[in-house]
Symmetry: D2
Subunit: 117 residues, 4 copies
């Protein structure tokens, strides 16, 4: 499905329930914090070296995919509310990151050198 059709489906779902009244940008940001919290619950006690095995279980994988869906729905609603597009936001940020993390300098290093002694 292309992104326009996806955004239409999400916006329409909220509209049918008259949820626009709750969905200003501030509330949607808070809801994103809430849903990303649920996403973090899925793997919080799973060690890095056990993650691939854990996600080989269809129930765990489905739980994580559902949380991804929740986060993406809120992101799309926030973009719609702001009159912007999710793909435009991604492309704009990739371009900024291309300058911030030149491939030849950033290669193999974590993205947060400020936190990396």
């Amino acid at each position: 499905m292309n992104l326009d059709a996806l955004q239409d489906a999400v916006v329409n779902f909220a509209h049918e329930r008259e949820w626009e009244q709750f969905h200003d940008a501030k509330n949607l940001c808070m809801a994103l914090a809430s849903e990303v919290g649920e996403l973090n619950a899925v793997l919080r006690w799973v060690r890095n070296d056990e993650v691939d095995a854990a996600l080989a279980d269809p129930r765990r994988k489905s739980a994580l995919r559902q949380e991804i869906g929740d986060v993406a729905i809120l992101l799309i609603l926030l973009c719609a509310r702001m009159g912007t597009r999710l793909d435009a936001a991604v492309i704009e940020k990739l371009e900024l990151n291309t300058h911030k993390y030149p491939a030849d300098k950033a290669r193999g290093l974590p993205e947060d050198p400020g936190n990396t002694p």
Copy 2:
């Protein structure tokens, strides 16, 4: 841009920097918590009744759009890592929510009745 091309651009960006070594599903979830935290910083002290005016300022709007980009990039990387697609996750969750929140019962009510006395 369609979602396949967008995912390719994001995955390629990380690949050029050899960041796959950091990007297992657990670390990407933690990074999502971090970036959604930055997104929440933008409007945390802005009241609901001032949000639209605050986002009429191009600098504030750009700050929020950049954080949306960061969150979306990580979501796309997480989907790629799991061998799933962002649009499939959204459509699957919309279908689940259609049953969880029937339009005729959910209309005009907040989405979290459990938290709403």
Copy 3:
């Protein structure tokens, strides 16, 4: 209850369940993201001008207080794991903030001037 006794109670609770094996600093940070997400769920659809009224309802207030408890328990476990103390972390940060936000300059302004055009 003083903070030493509180930390002992929390650490002992986890110890009785042999949960130290899950509670390294990384996992505790992820768990904090999860619990702060639940905390954000409580008021996400409540507008600023309705918050005091919403918290006058004992069930809503109790829901929020329980989430505060969850977050605080994880913070205390993280401090214990790091061999540091919660009160020391607070006092250290207050001192840093005293320099970052001098009272005569910060008075009446939001704390995040970078996000405030």
Copy 4:
């Protein structure tokens, strides 16, 4: 320092800057999402088996302790706003968890059986 004195120091810091106007319960929850995001940034790319070594570096440990301080300050402000106490919230939640996770049944198992197939 005891918790009453700690809460007084935190509340007084905010009062001297006239920040009560920003600090309703909703905004403080959002600010908690933001600061827990910063806390998650510190270890997001560090694997579980490297966490102890990473925190042996005084700069990394100090970075994490500062974020703990930020989160705790906001928790204390939220308690003060609600007319409740942080230690009371912790003790109340420990009691609830004692029933939810009986020691003889929960021993050695992760805390989120719902997410654990």
